[in-house]
Amino acid sequence: MLSIKNLHKRYGAATAVNGVTVDIPEGQMVGIIGRSGAGKSTLLRLINRLTDASEGGIVCCGEEVTALSGRALRGWRARCAMIFQQFNLVSRLSVVANVLIGRIAYRSTLPTLFNFFSLEERAMAVRALERLDMAANALKRADALSGGQQQRVAIARALVQEPRLVLADEPIASLDPHNAARVMDALRTINREEGITVLTNLHQVGTAKSYCDRILGMAHGRIVFDGPPEALTLTRVQEIYGAGGEDEEVRQALGLPGQSRPEAAGGACLASA
């Protein structure tokens, strides 16, 4: 479905994405892991075309995504919904207004500028909120919600985009474990029930292993690991994160015993922070 070939993104002398080539079949849930600065966010932003590639191509369903512009580009963005770490909702607008924003690419400009949405679209928005257990809050202001609730509103907005692909950039990095689980569950549900392809950057190896069908490991802008969760061994994790990457969370995720010297683990933690 999504086919990325030799994708590069350079910022001046620095290369954020350095020759990524990967094929993603329809309906897969893919987790991308890698240390800070590996180029994970840049890769997702390239796919949504929030930034333009320096070199290489992205093809989706026979369509050359990297060549799109104008109306066709906006149509592509609508079909590949994006979810952000900081939710990126419009905080002064109501929850339902935020969800309706997911429809604006399907409408002509003028009516949307005056906030005219059809009854069906409003119903669609409320149903999307209902699926995420947020319908009761539809008329609240977005900034009156907790982080976890805001992220679920963002997922509802993604749903009304009727996307074939959802890109989530560290969707749970600002959430507590309980809310993180709810958000990840929601992403997996839309993946399983609607067959929407999900591509998500994740901070924690454990989350990636338990939710994703396939894991991509990135380092220095390259894909250095591509395989099912079972294939992710300690050596592989070390290849992705570099030496010292195996902290307590990783060891737990891989089902390994904890470090024998806790002060050493603490030291590694401080140094990497």
């Binding site: 949504n48 929030l50 580009l73 906006r74 149509g75 592509w76 963005r77 609508a78 919904a81 994006m82 952000f84 900081q86 939710f87 990126n88 909702l89 419009v90 905080s91 002064r92 607008l93 207004a97 924003i101 997911g102 604006i104 690419a105 400009t109 949307t112 500028l113 906030n115 202001r141 963002a154 907005r157 985009q161």
Partner: protein, 295 residues
């Protein structure tokens, strides 16, 4: 911004921090001293160029009070009502002119706000759709605010004739420039995360401005416009001097005719109106701030 602390050989962090802090404080003192010198110099030049001389000032002070005395009405406490009636003999007409003045200010502010709103988005550095549009809207706003209302009023009186229309236009154009700058600065401070969120769903430029930026800045815009309305009520009473309608036109007339008591009567009315507008706009603005956008 800021200096990075480099400890010298064998120096501990606390003492090298103190050394860096002392250096920074010295540099700051030097900067402040040169600023004060510059200010004094500018003041000196201005006094000289503005011909502010103590002798002229002292000679002028009696004239000032004489003029005040000339235009002051004759009010006797045993005939207060009749005297007041005589002083404000033309009150009905003047009140109509005052209402005219406020309406000129209102319409000018409204039109200027609409134009400033539309231009502020392309004029925002980080939101503009392209360089040319950005450059053009910036220069347009700069020109609009660089020329004073009074000059616009003069030009428009020449082209459209005496009356309120040139006044409205003059205020509208200047307001466009003044508010456009403030609006575009508010836009530039809007959260770009939100802008990106809206862009990522496939919104075009207009939709992005409408949904990502407008909700963030609208309360500021309203507050700025009210502030501008206060200013424009004052300005509207002055631009009448060149024939652009309102109470100023009448004031100019009585000044030219040396109708002394009318001058004081009109000036007092104008002051009262401006103060009244100031107070009510102030109240309104404080109520608006912190109120949610009804969008």
């Amino acid at each position: 911004m800021g200096t990075i602390i480099h400890p010298k050989n064998g120096e501990d962090w606390a003492s090298s921090f103190e050394r860096a802090r002392a250096e920074l404080a010295r540099a700051k003192r030097a900067r402040n001293a040169s600023f004060v010198l510059l200010l004094l110099f500018a003041l000196g030049i201005s006094f000289w160029a503005g011909e502010v001389r103590t002798s002229t000032l002292l000679e002028g002070i009696p004239n000032f009070f004489n003029y005040i005395n000339d235009i002051a009405p004759e009010l006797r406490h045993d005939h207060l009502l009749t005297d007041l009636g005589e002083w404000y003999w033309n009150l009905g007409h003047w009140l109509i002119l005052l209402v005219d003045t406020v309406l000129i200010a209102f319409l000018g502010t409204f039109l200027g706000t609409v134009a400033a709103f539309l231009l502020s988005f392309p004029a925002s550095r980080n939101l503009s759709p392209n360089g040319t549009v950005h450059f053009a809207s910036r220069r347009l706003l700069e020109f609009a605010r660089a020329v004073p209302e009074l000059v616009y009023a003069l030009v428009f009186v020449f082209s459209f004739g005496i009356g309120p229309l040139p006044g409205v236009l003059a205020l509208a154009v200047h307001t466009t420039g003044a508010l456009g700058k403030l609006f575009s600065e508010a836009n530039e401070n809007a959260s770009l995360d939100t802008v990106e969120g809206v862009r990522s769903v496939g919104a075009d430029w207009f939709q992005t401005m409408r949904f990502a930026v407008v909700p963030q800045v609208l309360p500021n815009f309203l507050s700025y416009s009210l502030l501008r309305f206060e200013i424009n009520v004052r300005a509207a009473s002055v631009i009448g001097f060149v024939g652009a309608g309102g109470i100023g036109q009448e004031l100019m007339f009585v000044i030219r005719q040396f109708v002394y008591s009318d001058i004081s009567a009109l000036v007092l009315l104008i002051i009262l109106t401006v103060v009244l507008m100031d107070i009510s706009c102030e109240r309104l603005r404080h109520r608006l701030i912190g109120r949610e956008a009804l969008l």
